[in-house]
């Protein structure tokens, strides 16, 4: 099954061009593993990048540039980093597995609220990627956002603002949105979420717990 909700053109172009931050790039790459449509789109964007390189005026190289590279062709390259096997993290595509420090159940899950746990996977340029695990049928407490939030479903699904999100789907939230997504009743919902600013829990509970949560 393919995704219904895709990353925006801006995200795909920034990923293809190489200007996207690492956390957002992780989400886009994970989506690409599950979405042939966006893979084709990124392939087109890369073709654009290749054509643009070929159209650039050539710069002057050092006189010995070619000779020095030719002299290095036979040096042994550093061995490629092995990719993590799928064992112990069923259903997680390769780009994401590379960022897990341990198997799913051995990850340092932290409880955020009743039935909701998270693990922060990486933070780069102030942008954070985390795994979120939401128990079946659990509603995430109503919250707003200090910036943008991208959430991609890896397992199960959730409903938000009248839309249903399933494996591979990407939901986008911004500063304007205050919401309370609800995990589907059938199974635990596992998501990859990327945020560029802390979430803000609304309401009295939020006022009380915001300072203590690592959001």
């Amino acid at each position: 099954m393919s995704a219904t909700f895709h990353p925006t053109d801006e995200l795909l172009v920034a990923y293809g061009a190489g200007s996207l931050d690492e956390a957002s790039a992780l989400l886009v790459a994970t989506h690409l593993a599950l979405c042939p449509r966006c893979r084709a789109e990124v392939a087109r964007i890369e073709t654009l990048g290749g054509a643009m390189i070929e159209d650039l005026p050539p710069a002057d190289l050092g006189a010995d540039a070619l000779a020095s590279v030719l002299a290095r062709l036979d040096l042994p390259p550093s061995p490629p980093k092995p990719r993590r096997p799928a064992v112990g993290s069923p259903g997680l595509p390769a780009p994401l597995r590379d960022y897990l420090p341990a198997e799913m159940e051995a990850l340092p899950w932290k409880r955020l609220a009743a039935g909701i746990e998270q693990v922060v996977l990486l933070q780069a340029r102030g942008i954070r990627a985390r795994l979120l695990r939401i128990g079946a049928g659990i509603a995430v407490p109503e919250h707003g956002h200090g910036g943008m939030e991208l959430t991609m479903v890896l397992q199960g699904g959730f409903a938000d603002q009248g839309q249903g999100y399933a494996r591979g789907d990407v939901a986008m939230a911004d500063r304007q949105l205050v919401h309370s997504p609800v995990a589907d009743r059938s199974e635990t919902c596992l998501c990859l979420a990327v945020t560029d600013a802390p979430l803000k829990l609304t309401g009295l509970v939020g006022l009380l717990v915001n300072p203590f949560l690592d959001l």
Binding site: E10, C35, A40, R44, P58, L61, A67, L73
Partner: protein, 229 residues
């Protein structure tokens, strides 16, 4: 067969220009009894492959140094321009261009002419190398052997042909963009910044950058006959 002495010397002194590269490439193709390409970007009617892609395949299959040298002569000076456009100082841009070409040599075995043409693949290698060496970040990428990968719909029989021709089609589609759309697309590749900073630089709202980019990509998709609802 070896190139003539003059060209070989020009190579080692780095003084060869594109005309010579095209000339030497033409001779290589003639030696192999193939059709003579009119220019670097021409597509061979038989295989659908560009001369550059054939050179890259020769590097992958037989460690062909002459083919690599031709690729270097063409791409290394352009990769240096690319790095400089991204704000890298001259000496570092040169180093990155050289490292990128070394990576091209080492990774050539993973080049699949059915998935990309040489220019596209070399762009991706250079882009990733820059993220790795300059930004010190990892580049999250899909693994084509990943059992979790949702496979493409049934591949077309003329896949290689379609891939190699897509470059000229993308190029043609680019020509159909408005000046404003072209500017936003170009800056997306040559600014190592989020689109918010492109908006600030062009002194236009972020929403305008996004909508121009969306329209540009929609236009390119429809030119390639790939537009989907």
């Amino acid at each position: 067969m070896a190139p003539d002495m003059g060209s070989a010397l020009a190579f080692s002194f780095g003084s060869i220009d594109d005309v010579h590269v095209i000339d030497m490439m033409r001779r290589r193709v003639e030696e192999k009894g193939g059709a003579v390409p009119d220019q670097i970007r021409s597509v061979e009617p038989e295989t659908g492959a560009t001369p550059m892609s054939e050179l890259l395949v020769a590097v992958a299959q037989s460690g062909d140094r002459q083919a690599f040298a031709l690729l270097f002569q063409y791409y290394a000076p352009r990769l240096k321009t690319y790095m400089r456009k991204l704000g890298t100082e001259d000496a570092v841009a040169e180093e990155l261009a050289q490292e990128a070409m070394l990576a091209v040599w080492r990774k050539a075995a993973s080049f699949d002419p059915g998935r990309a043409n040489a220019g596209t693949w070399i762009f991706a290698v250079a882009r990733n190398l820059r993220i790795d060496m300059l930004r010190k970040e990892k580049r999250p990428e899909i693994d084509l052997d990943d059992p979790e990968l949702v496979p493409d719909p049934a591949p077309r029989a003329d896949e290689v042909m379609a891939t190699q021709q897509s470059e000229s089609r993308v190029r043609a589609a680019m020509c159909g963009l408005s000046a404003e759309q072209t500017e936003v697309v170009t800056l997306s590749f040559y600014e190592d910044t989020p689109h918010a900073e492109i908006a600030a630089r062009l002194k236009i709202p972020l929403g305008t950058v996004k909508s121009r980019l969306r329209l540009a990509m929609k236009r390119i998709r429809s030119e390639l006959g790939d537009d989907q609802p």
